[in-house]
Amino acid sequence: MFDGFDALLLARIQFAFTVSFHFIFPALSIGLASYLMVLEGLWLKTGKQLYLDLFKYWLKIFAITFAMGVVSGIVMSYQFGTNWAVFSDKAGPVIGPLMAYEVLTAFFLEAGFLGVMLFGMNRVGKGLHFAATFMVAFGTFVSAFWILSVNSWMQTPVGFEMGANGQFLPGESWWDIVFSPSFPYRLVHTVLAAYLTTAFVVGGVGAWHLLKDRTNAHARKMFSMAMWMAALVVPIQIFAGDMHGLNTLEHQPPKVMAMEGHFESHPDGAPLYLFGIPDQDAQELRYAIGIPKLSSLILKHDPDASLDGLDTVPRDEQPPVAVVFWTFRIMVGLGFAMLGVGLWSLFARMRGKLYDWKWLHRAALLMGPSGFIAVIAGWVTTEVGRQPWVIYGLLRTADAASPLDAPAVGASLLAFVIVYFTVFGVGVWYILRLMKAPPHAGEKGVKRTEKGPVRTAGITPGPTQNPGHNPDTLPSNHEEADDGR
C-alpha cells in the first residue's frame, strides 16, 4: 500500500490534516477560557448564581475541548521531527527556542492550573480559583503568541544568518525574530478569530435554547453576551484582517495575487473579482465577475494604482491559486455574514426584541459553527498561499521533508485519519450532547462519579446523599466530607 504515492505529498497531507484538526480545539478553548474567566469574574463581582451556573455549564464543554486540544497538540510538537526532519535541522536553532518558550511559559501554565480550575473549586478559596482560571486563560493566549511568532517567522523570515552547515542561525537580536514583520497582524487576527469562533458557538447554543424556551434566563444571558461580541468585535476583526492583507501584500505579494485571482498585471487599477474559476495552467481567471478598480482601492487606497499579477511570478514559485482563491472567499464571506448577525442583533436589542425574534435565533444557530470554518479557511489561505516555500523565499517545502518511504508516511497518515475521526468525532458528539441539555439553575461542575448521585468518588465532591445540601452550589464551602482525610 502507498508504494505508488509520493512521500512528500503524503507528508504534506498529513501535516495539513493533523494541524487543521488540531486547530479546531484551540480555536474554541482560547475563547472559552476567557469566557469562563469573565463568567467567574462576574459571579464573584455580582454574587449572582446565574453566572456560576453558566460557568459550570461551559466548564464541562471546555474540559472535553481542552483534552482533545492537548492530545492533538502533542502530535504537532512531534510532526516537525517525524515528517519534516530537514526543516527541523535547518530551522531548529531559530524557531526551536520560540517553541521551547511556548512550552515553558504557556503549556505548563495551562496544564498546571487546569486541574485546580476543573476540580478544585471546593479545595481552594474563590479568589485562588479565579486566579487559576485566569492563569489557564492567560496561558492559552501566551501559547498563541509563541506559536504564531514561529509561523510568522516562517512566513516573513528576518534576523537570521546562514550557517556553514546550511542551518538558519539566530542573528544579533531575538526581538527581530520573535516580532517578525507579519507577526503583530497575524496575532491580532488569529486571537480575535478564536474569540469570535467561541462567541458564535456560545451564541448558537444560546439561540438553540431560546428557540425551545424563550424565557430561559441562562440562555438569554449567554445569547446576549455572544451577540455583544458579534456586534462589537466582528467590525474590529474585519479591520484587522484588512491590515493583515496589506501586510501580506508588502511581504508576500504572490499570496495576495492568488487570493485576488490576479493572473495578469493591472497597470492602471485592478478589479476586485467576486467570482471566477481560476485556471492555473492557462494562467487566467475564467468567468470572472469583478468590480473595476476596487482591488486597487482596497489594497493601495487609490483606484488607479498599479497592481502586479502572477504573470510577474515564475510558474514554479506560484502558489496553487484555486485553493487560495476559494478559501479566501469562504473566510471573507463568513466574516460578512457574522457582521450581518451582529448588526441584526444590535437592531433587535434596540427594539427590545433580542429574545423574541425567532429568525435572528435561527440565523445565530446556523452561524454557530461558522467560526471554525472561517478559521480553517483562513489558515488554508495563508499556508497554501505561501507555497512553494516553507521558509518564505529561502527553503522550499519540497526540500524540507524527512527521508522516509511513502509506505511509512502513508500508513501513519491513514492511522491519524482513522483515529482522529473516530476519537474526536465521538468527543464532538459528547460536546453536542452537553450543549443540547438546557443550562439551568444549580448546574453541576465536571462530574467525577460513574453512576450518578449515589455516592461520591473523586476529587470534586459529588452531590451527597444529604438532601437540600448541594456542595456544587457552594464552591467556597470547605466540607470535611470533601477533604476526607
Binding site: G81, L114, Y430, I459
Partner: protein
C-alpha cells in the same frame, strides 16, 4: 568557545531532567492505565483515575518539553531520532490520544465506559511500550549519513528493543501501583500493594537484564562500565540501585504509604544515571555527540534565560497543584 561547550553540557542536563520528570510523572499515570483492568469496575477504578485526573495534563507537558527542548537545543538529534523511530513515535502519539481523551470521555456516557476504559489501558500500554522501545533503539545505535537518518523504517525492531519496551511497561506499572498505595486506602490499597510487589520484581529483573545486555550491545558501552578509571565513577550506580531495590521491597512488605513511591522514583533516577554513564557524551550513538548536534550559543543562551526564570515558577505551581489535591482519594464514599 569554552562557554559554548559548557552550555551544551548544561542543556544536556536540562533535557535529561525533562525526560526524567516526564518518565516518572507520566510514568505513574501510564502505569495506572496499564494496571487498570485489574481494578474492580466502579469505585476502585473511579478512584484510581481520579487520583491522577487533576495532574496528568501537567505531567504530560514534560514530554512536550523533552521533545520541544530537544528540537531547540539539539535540533539535529531531534531531526535524526524521530525519523529513525518513526512508527514508534506515531504509535506513542496515538496511544496518548486514546489515553488522554479517556480521562474525560469515560464519564460522559455509562454505556461507553467499558470502551474508554479499554482505550485508557490500550493507549497507556502502547505509549509505554513505544517509549521504552524508542529508548532501546537509541541505545543500540542509529545510522546517520550527511545529517540525516540513513536506515529504513523498521531498523529499530530487535529483541533488545522488545526487552527495553517490556522493561518500561513494568517500570511504569511499578510507579503507578506505588502511587495508588499512597493515594488509596483499605482494600484498594492492599490490592495496589500486591500489584506493586509484582511490578517491583518484574522491573528489577528486566532492569538487570537490560543492564547486562547493554554490556554486550556496543563494545564502547562495556568499556565505560568495566575499565579503570571509569569504573570508579560508574560502580556506585549499580550498588546504590541495589540498595534502593532492597529498601523498596521492604517498604512494600511493611505497609508504608508514600515511601514505596519515593523509592521507586529513586530507582528510576539511578536507572537514568546508568543510562547516562552508558551513553555519555553521545546523544545519538554511535556517531553524534551532544556537541555535534547542539544549537548555536545564541539559541542556548536565549533559552537558558527562559528556563532560569520559568523553571522555578513551574516547579512551584506544579507542587502547589499537587498539594491542593493531597491526601487519600475519595474517602467520602465510605460515609
Amino acid at each position: 568557545m569554552d562557554v559554548n561547550v559548557d552550555l551544551t553540557v548544561v542543556w544536556a542536563f536540562i533535557i535529561a531532567f525533562a525526560v526524567f520528570a516526564y518518565v516518572v510523572m507520566d510514568g505513574f499515570d501510564l502505569g495506572i492505565g496499564i494496571l487498570f483492568p485489574s481494578f474492580e469496575v466502579g469505585r476502585e477504578r473511579d478512584r484510581a483515575m481520579n487520583s491522577i485526573a487533576p495532574v496528568w495534563d501537567g505531567n504530560e507537558t514534560w514530554l512536550v518539553l523533552g521533545g520541544g527542548g530537544l528540537f531547540a537545543a539539539f535540533p539535529l538529534a531531534y531531526a535524526v531520532i524521530l525519523p529513525a523511530t518513526y512508527p514508534l513515535i506515531i504509535a506513542m502519539l496515538l496511544g496518548l490520544v486514546f489515553r488522554g481523551v479517556a480521562f474525560e470521555f469515560r464519564w460522559r456516557d455509562p454505556s461507553h465506559r467499558r470502551l474508554w476504559d479499554f482505550a485508557f489501558t490500550g493507549g497507556s500500554l502502547v505509549a509505554a511500550m513505544a517509549q521504552g522501545m524508542t529508548l532501546g533503539a537509541l541505545l543500540q545505535g542509529i545510522d546517520v549519513v550527511d545529517r540525516a537518518y540513513a536506515g529504513s523504517w523498521f531498523d529499530w525492531f530487535t529483541p533488545y528493543t522488545l526487552l527495553t519496551g517490556i522493561g518500561t511497561v513494568a517500570g511504569y506499572a511499578l510507579l503507578g501501583a506505588c502511587w495508588l498505595v499512597w493515594k488509596l486506602d483499605g482494600e484498594a490499597q492492599a490490592h495496589a500493594r500486591t500489584l506493586a510487589k509484582r511490578a517491583a520484581w518484574a522491573t528489577l529483573i528486566l532492569m538487570g537484564g537490560v543492564s547486562i545486555y547493554n554490556l554486550g550491545l556496543r563494545p564502547e558501552y562495556a568499556d565505560r562500565w568495566l575499565t579503570a578509571p571509569e569504573i570508579y565513577f560508574a560502580a556506585p550506580v549499580p550498588i546504590l540501585t541495589g540498595l534502593i531495590a532492597l529498601a523498596l521491597l521492604r517498604s512494600l512488605s511493611v505497609e508504608r504509604h508514600s515511601k514505596p513511591f519515593w523509592l521507586s522514583l529513586a530507582l528510576f533516577f539511578f536507572g537514568m544515571a546508568g543510562l547516562g554513564v552508558t551513553m555519555w557524551p553521545y546523544v545519538v550513538p554511535p556517531g553524534l555527540t551532544i556537541w555535534d548536534v547542539a544549537a548555536p550559543e545564541r539559541s542556548q543562551v536565549f533559552m537558558l534565560i527562559g528556563v532560569g526564570i520559568t523553571m522555578p515558577l513551574i516547579i512551584a505551581y506544579t507542587a502547589w497543584a499537587y498539594w491542593v489535591f493531597r491526601g487519600k482519594v475519595g474517602d467520602e464514599g465510605y460515609h
